[in-house]
């Protein structure tokens, strides 16, 4: 054999990292669904679990933020879905149905969650709506004893007495409330201000006030006090309490454009009434959720936009005579919506049997005398009894947040955190970090479009998934925006094998990374980026 030159040592000494002008960095950013969930759910996280059919784990993760998945899977307006990046490709992930699937699983499979024993601290909560009960749930989970007071005979607040059963089945609500209230003392028919007062609260270490917004706004027109003119909220409460409310053949007017107005109109129609909804602006300005408006329009309910009642009288035949005036849109008002302005000489008459008003609700804080919400949206504690003031926390619909179930849940959970900190003599500090949200620009659509094109279309709002396979295949459509799902692309595509897999993710070996940028380009979800430094 002739002699041959042989290389026997490695190239390890050649630190090609010195070639690099830009450095890859693995860093998860916030998925838009998570960011937009008012309850603060880790939506991306539980979808990931559902994809692998881990429903129990998904339920546990979801209920870390929201104790009401079955309720919210039905009545939440799902801003998460509206912000879903997948809508840039075909159609957003149906988070509503996935949440409902998890909630329904919970109803079947979880009745009593294990709880730690209670320690010496005691909390009183006034108001058993979603805000009060969320606070109660998370406080009790930490071993803090909770007593919830409500003026009604049953818990649930608007969930029970406002939202009609055709949108939220009463047995679903009952089951979910049962689980949430496990280990919590509930005192029914106790109205704060009349059945009990501040002196009854002195034995508690802190008090959370979540009495909602139940004072219907008045129209300030003549005839408003005639008994046949009733608040929509009141009507819904009666209807939801005993299912009564026979309106067969009656002509009914509902005034307003919010959720209460829609639910009132749709409920009245279900009780046999001939319903006309009048709203002083146009559909575009209706404060009700878009889905609600969609459903409303599908029903045989007449809608008169740009119309407002001017006065109401009782006529001889026992009917109500109502004078309306037509409106037109003027310049924007403080809410940013165009102000409706009356059109001169546009009056017209109608004769009806009943009028339901639903033009908005205010919190009833009469038990505190002058206590008010300050213009900035903060609660004004200044007039409140000194013995309570320092221990009082407020949340839910009392505050001028958007008034929705998930906001109430988020507000209640935040209160539980503030109270837990307060009990330790601390003040809850919130992270000042600016969250980076994963937008469509962070998604490498090649990994989704070329592989998995599906038809465009919208999701039907009602009903759930038929089975686990349906739910998990919907979950599998999720991009996992901004959050590494260990797809291995960065590791696999590195020409220099500089992206190393570790037990909990990936590590870039900067001694050798040449900074070509393939890894970041091929990350399907924006959780790896070139940071441009070095």
């Amino acid at each position: 054999m002739p002699e041959m030159a042989v290389s026997e040592s490695s190239m390890d000494w050649n630190k090609t990292g010195s070639w690099r002008s830009s450095t890859p960095l693995h860093k998860n950013i916030t998925p838009p669904c998570n960011f937009n969930c008012p309850a603060g759910e880790n939506i991306r996280g539980y979808i990931d679990l559902l994809k692998d059919k881990k429903t129990k784990e998904a339920f546990e993760l979801l209920t870390e933020a929201n104790p009401f998945p079955a309720v919210c899977g039905r009545v939440c307006y799902h801003p998460c879905q509206a912000s879903c990046n997948r809508s840039s490709l075909d159609r957003e992930i149906n988070v509503r149905k996935l949440e409902r699937f998890i909630g329904d699983w919970g109803m079947e499979n979880v009745n009593k969650q294990a709880l730690p024993p209670t320690a010496s601290k005691k909390i009183a909560i006034i108001g058993a709506g979603p805000a009060g009960l969320s606070a109660a749930f998370y406080l009790r989970k930490q071993g803090i004893a909770v007593t919830v007071y409500d003026e009604n005979s049953m818990p649930g607040g608007i969930l029970r007495y406002g939202i009609p059963s055709y949108r939220l089945e009463k047995d679903v609500l009952a089951k979910e409330l049962d689980r949430v209230l496990h280990g919590i003392e509930f005192k029914s028919n106790m109205r704060f201000g009349s059945d009990f007062d501040i002196s009854d609260l002195l034995g508690f270490d802190a008090v959370f006030l979540a009495t909602g917004a139940h004072l219907s706004k008045t129209m300030n027109i003549d005839g408003e006090n005639i008994p046949e003119v009733e608040s929509g909220l009141n009507f819904l409460k009666t209807a939801n309490s005993n299912g009564s409310g026979n309106l067969k053949g009656k002509e009914v007017i509902v005034v307003g454009g919010g959720n209460t107005a829609c639910d009132t109109a749709r409920s009245a129609y279900r009780f046999g009434a001939k319903v006309t909804l009048v709203y002083r602006r146009t559909e575009a300005q209706m404060p009700a959720f878009a889905e609600e408006i969609e459903q409303l329009k599908k029903e045989p309910i007449k809608i008169e936009f740009l119309t407002a009642p001017k006065n109401i009288r009782k006529t001889d035949g026992g009917k109500l005579g109502v004078t309306f005036i037509k409106m037109k849109l003027g310049l924007p008002d403080s809410s940013g919506r165009s102000r409706p302005v009356p059109i001169a000489d546009s009056d017209f008459e109608m004769s009806v049997d009943k009028i339901f008003t639903a033009i908005g609700e205010d919190p009833d804080l009469s038990f505190f005398g002058n206590a008010r919400i300050k213009t900035g949206g903060e609660f004004d504690f200044s007039d409140i009894d000194e013995r309570l003031k320092a221990r009082l926390f407020v949340g839910g619909d009392i505050l001028p947040n958007p008034r929705t179930v998930p906001h109430a849940v988020g507000s209640g959970r935040l209160a539980s955190e503030k109270i837990a900190a307060f009990l330790k003599g601390e003040v809850l500090t919130q992270s000042e970090d600016i969250e980076v949200i994963a937008g469509p620009g962070d998604i490498n659509f090649d990994y989704f479009s070329m592989i998995n094109l599906t038809k465009r279309g919208s999701h039907p709002a009602e009903s759930g998934f038929a089975n686990m396979d349906e739910a998990s295949s919907e979950a599998a459509r999720c991009f996992s925006c901004g959050v590494c799902d260990h797809c291995d692309n960065c590791h696999n595509f590195c020409p220099d094998m500089a992206v190393i897999k570790t037990s909990n993710g990936y590590h870039v070996n900067l001694e050798y990374c040449k900074g070509c940028g393939i890894c970041a380009r091929e990350c399907p979800r924006g959780s790896l980026k070139m940071d441009g430094t070095e």
């Binding site: 030159a5 042989v6 290389s7 026997e8 040592s9 490695s10 190239m11 390890d12 000494w13 050649n14 630190k15 090609t16 070639w19 090649d446 479009s449 070329m450 094109l453 291995d488 696999n492 595509f493 590195c494 020409p495 220099d496 094998m497 500089a498 070996n509 001694e511 050798y512 040449k514 900074g515 070509c516 940028g517 393939i518 970041a520 380009r521 091929e522 070139m530």
Partner: protein, 307 residues
Amino acid sequence: MDRELLNDNDFLRDSGFCGHTACPGCGEKILLRHVLDVLGPETVIAAPAGCAAVTDGIFPHTVSPVPFLHTAFGAVASGAAGVRAGLDMSGRENVTVLAWAGDGATFDIGLGPLSAIAERNENIIYVCYDNEAYMNTGVQRSSATPSGSWTTTTPSGRLKSEPKKNIDLIMASHKIPYVATASPAFLDDLKMKVAKAKRLTGFRFLRLFSPCPPGWKSDPADSITLARLAVESNIFPLFEIEDGERWSLSYESSGVPVARYLKTQGRFRYLSDDDMARIQRETDRDYNRLKSLHQYNGYQKIVVEEQ
């Protein structure tokens, strides 16, 4: 597909594949690490002059985790066959011999020996990493360079006008057991094909798409993206030919316009819209022929009984 195939063998991870001198974003090195991952440590590489040979290491150093024999530019097929003969004679039939050659070495200068070794159905796997020009010597045209491409020997004004040579058809004409194309953007498919080649015996030929940022004037970060576009636009279809006769497409592309692929690279920047339309027509024609050959299975092996 089998997830296992995508997990690096320990031998590769421990061998220190780092420190090689390939350019940032080089396709050849992505291909090599995944091919070796499937073939495993019982492999010997033979490589001719070209980027693969040069960037493997600086004498006396190498990143190769397995023996790596440098051969003359035109002689890799013969060199690999020689290694095979030597291994077989010393009773090591189990060792895989891998010829690892550029397109210049395969389509042009080494074509004679390649044909001879294929015709004798020597028991080796021959991989052509196709970067469509003589890259190591500074981007000269080869017969693998696509028409319309800029190279230093086909400068603007005299862009390459001849079509790319159909080497796959040439190799299939040898009736060898396996011919396949694969792309680094489709690693599942690539690794499956390497595994299949490994299971077969005789001459196996794989042509792998190998992006070259400096030669193609593309962004190094784009190497995989443009490799994917090459497949999706049918510029580089993924297929297999068994026994020279059974054709099958491996992947149904989405058929994106070729212009999307062409625009990722500076070497195509002199093309007019008309040129791109022509390339689109040629691509469609070639892809349609491939589709008609898909699942064509007219071949029956006739076994000659020895007296």
